[in-house]
């Protein structure tokens, strides 16, 4: 099974206590499955994870997107640059 390494940032990183989490995902796992796994592993991220978007290979990805092996994956909590 592919192992995904997922980057976490800002409040999501602090809630999880790590800037990277790994998940040995079943084939066909989606962004939505990954979010569920993040929340299961780090329950204190639940509220913010629900409001976060995934990025796959540095682009925002929809929740139905299937994770492919070797892709660069991150969770992007609501952004606050620009002021």
């Amino acid at each position: 099974m592919p192992v995904h390494r997922v980057k976490l940032f800002a409040g999501l990183r602090e809630a999880a206590g790590t800037d990277l989490f790994e998940w040995e995902a079943p084939a066909g796992a989606t962004v939505a499955d990954l979010r569920a796994e993040l929340t299961r592993r780090f329950p204190q991220t639940a509220a913010l994870a629900a409001r976060s978007f995934a990025a796959v290979d540095r682009e925002y990805a929809v929740d139905t997107r299937v994770l492919s092996e070797g892709a660069e994956i991150a969770f992007i909590p609501p952004v606050s640059g620009g002021a």
């Binding site: 980057k7 940032f9 800002a10 409040g11 602090e14 939505a32 913010l48 409001r51 978007f53 990025a55 540095r58 682009e59 925002y60 990805a61 929809v62 929740d63 139905t64 997107r65 660069e72 991150a74 992007i76 909590p77 609501p78 952004v79 606050s80 640059g81 620009g82 002021a83």
Partner: protein, 150 residues
């Protein structure tokens, strides 16, 4: 000029970067965090980004703006790391033959940057509290995404 920098922003350099003999109008936007919010004082701010994606997102914004408006120059600089209130955390400059395009593009760039570029701000409050800022999110994915969130 697209830049993510730990150094203070020099507006003169941002303006110089969009200077063009074909430009009749330059619009510069500077965004700062105010020291006081509802009676509460911010002592400092910390900005972080997802560097690989933020650089790409800013380049995408630049490309999209150039498609939508006839721009001569376009420059976006965002601070990272520690920033004091009152210092500019972001500077956007655009130049164009005519001013309507410059104003519209400048406004669109800061609006879209604030919605979609993976940069985050941490408020270090004078009362000792520390807080990542994660605004209420719109229901749909930011503009650069492939489609609406399921």
């Amino acid at each position: 000029m697209i830049e993510l920098t730990h150094d203070p922003i020099d507006p003169a350099a941002v303006l110089a970067a969009v200077s063009s003999p074909r430009a009749g109008a330059v619009v510069l936007f500077l965004g700062t965090t105010r020291a006081w919010t509802d009676g509460r004082e911010t002592t400092t701010l910390d900005y972080e980004c997802y560097p690989e994606m933020a650089g790409r997102a800013l380049s995408d914004l630049q490309g999209q703006a150039r498609e939508r408006w006839p721009l001569e120059g376009l420059s976006i600089v965002h601070r990272l790391g520690r920033v004091d209130p009152g210092e500019a955390s972001v500077a956007i400059a655009v130049s164009s033959a005519h001013r309507d395009a410059a104003f519209e593009a400048g406004k669109w760039l800061i609006d879209t940057l604030k919605e979609s570029v993976p940069i985050w701000k941490k408020e270090n409050w004078a009362d000792g509290a520390v807080e990542w800022v994660h605004p209420e999110t719109p229901a749909s994915l930011p503009p650069s995404a492939e489609g609406p969130r399921s």
